[in-house]
């Protein structure tokens, strides 16, 4: 296990480095500067401001300095929000995104596995067709369509749920988000994942239920429920584990739209705005944050996969 982990880390760290390098030079290749758009600065003042942030140095030197600082956990100050550092901005906003993402993936996994198993057990019957119809719709209706339509229906027309926004509620001294504000964004984020997960689980389950060891279990006279839970599900759920990495990337993409539509104070909204405003340090900080998150999740998924499937050797 340790050897496997160190091997994967040996790949993950250069990957992260590559991401940082690419993002750094792409951001700097972009025309415009963080100091141009606002008040017209005189050339002297602009020079002074640029010198203050080290932008007058050669690009390669800036890159080296950025990497050096970033490795020690210093991501610099924001160029647009003058009184905040990048870490403070990340710290202020990651909670909303985390709540959204975790709730969506949890809901999607539970509902997706349930639907997939039901569909596989009742193959080519009403439950199966219904589930597959949901799966196709979930894949074909993108988040930026479901989000406004659900707001139109449940927010504006029926008035059951708030149109947008985010509220924290304190329960026993811990801050929880208000479920009324969560339900629409989480639904929108989870729907495409439910579609994919239920398809994966259904396909895996159908294959496993035909396998010899399930037949053996049946021949032993085990009750059907136990066969499904103890024997079939364990193998059928494996594709889901390896899908968790891409799922997180999908959630990330979805959260950019969802946070914008529902006007949620999360990281996704910040990223697009910061990229457009050339807030170099904030964009870099977010790229590093998300890339590291995805790499770590992939690593966890791989390890989980190996732990669940004895056929996979961790060499």
């Amino acid at each position: 296990m340790l050897r496997f982990l160190s091997r994967r880390l040996l790949v993950a760290i250069p990957t992260l480095f590559l991401v940082v390098t690419l993002a750094f030079f792409m951001m700097r290749a972009a025309p415009g500067s963080p100091f141009v758009n606002e008040r017209q600065l005189t050339p002297e003042i602009q020079k002074t401001v640029e010198a203050k942030y080290g932008f007058d140095r050669p690009l390669i030197e800036q890159y080296g300095r950025y990497i050096w600082d970033a490795m020690r956990g210093d991501f610099g100050p924001s160029l647009k929000y003058r009184d905040k550092t990048v870490l403070e901005i990340l710290n202020d906003n990651y909670k909303v995104s985390l709540w959204l993402g975790l709730s969506a993936i949890t809901a999607a996994s539970i509902i997706g596995v349930f639907l997939g198993v039901m569909a596989a057990l009742r193959q080519n019957r009403a439950v199966d067709y219904g589930t597959m119809a949901i799966a196709i719709l979930g894949v074909c209706i993108p988040t930026f369509v479901t989000a406004p339509l659900l707001v139109l229906l449940f927010g504006s027309t029926l008035g059951w749920l708030p149109l947008a926004g985010w509220r924290w509620e304190e329960v026993a001294g811990v801050q929880f988000p208000s479920w009324r504000n969560m339900i629409l964004p989480v639904t929108v984020l989870a729907l495409p994942q439910i579609a994919i997960i239920s398809r994966l689980v259904r396909a895996g389950m159908i294959e496993v239920l035909r396998s010899n060891y399930v037949r053996t279990a049946r021949a032993k006279g085990l009750p059907e429920g136990m066969i499904v839970r103890k024997h079939a599900l364990r193998a059928a759920i494996l594709p889901l584990v390896s899908y968790l990495g891409p799922a997180c990337a999908g959630l990330l993409t979805g959260s950019l739209v969802v946070e914008q539509i529902f006007n949620l104070p999360g990281l996704g909204k910040f990223f697009v705005i910061s990229a457009l405003q050339r807030d170099y340090t904030v964009v870099m900080g977010m790229v590093i944050f998300y890339a590291a998150l995805i790499l770590i999740l992939n690593l966890i998924a791989d390890m989980l996969y190996a732990a669940l499937d004895p056929r996979v050797r961790l060499a």
Binding site: V11, T15, L18, V19, L22, A23, M26, M27, A29, A30, P31, I136, V139, C140, I141, P142, F144, V145, A147, P148, L149, V151, L152, S156, G245, P246, A249, L252, T253, L256, V257, Q260, I261, F271, V272, A275, L276, R278, V283, M286, V287, Y290, A291, I294, L295, N298
Partner: protein
Amino acid sequence: MTVSTMIPGSPERAELLQQAVKGRSLWDDARARLLRNKAAVAGMIVLVLMVLLAVIGPLFTPFAYDTVTKTDVWAAPGTGGHLLGADSLGRDLLARLFAGLGVSLGIGVVATAVSLIIGVAWGATAGYLGGKVDEVMMRMVDTLYSLPFIFFVILLMVTFGKNIFLIFLAIGAVEWLTMARIVRGQTLSLKQKEFIEAARAAGLGSGAIIARHIVPNLLGPVVVYVTLTIPAIIIAESFLSFLGLGVQAPMASLGTLISNGAKDMEMAPWLLIFPSVTMVLTLMAFNFIGDGLRDALDPKDR
């Protein structure tokens, strides 16, 4: 069998021989299976309809997609000659929908072509050469796979401006990874076949074998994946447009129409509903065709 087919030289016998020789190719079989699949046929009909609307639809609308009519601001569907209503600037939604559909389909096809070229070349080379080259090339694909790509597309758009050709390139360059994986897997099994050995024995170089023998035989899985990539790219473009980074006004794509519709949905829900329905129908058509093609071409299910 009638007696006449037994007589040498009879027209009936000639016909029978003709049939026997003609045989049924893999593609004939696949076509027959595809046409039996109702969902796939419905998808093809919808898709043909969408392409026709995008190509010749604009000729029949009374307004151009960018004509601003001040008196028709937020005209409801069916009023003022606007079959589907008009937007906040009084532009005809039907005309904009046709234009947007064309842009979205166009981007889908061109960006898929980009991803197809990169993916097939990469995957076929890695799979055919094998060994260390394969390991390095596929490790690169794995690495790229684990990156948050949407960030790079956003950075690309910011870096090089909101140019429509760049949208093609950026999205196509991101979507080639899966294609490369599929093609490599197929190539690995193809290169064991006798006809490749024959080609090598005849003195053909690796490049020629890849281009003339491997790539044409990859067609089946590639076609399936292409029909599934086009909708993925349409979604990606619309996603960028939704964030304000895609197609720029007054041009429209389905994504910009939905995005604008979402902003005005309290005032004019039709601006959201019609483009959304068009988008969902188009995406479903592609997905049904893709699923149908997979069932028709997949050797596993035969």
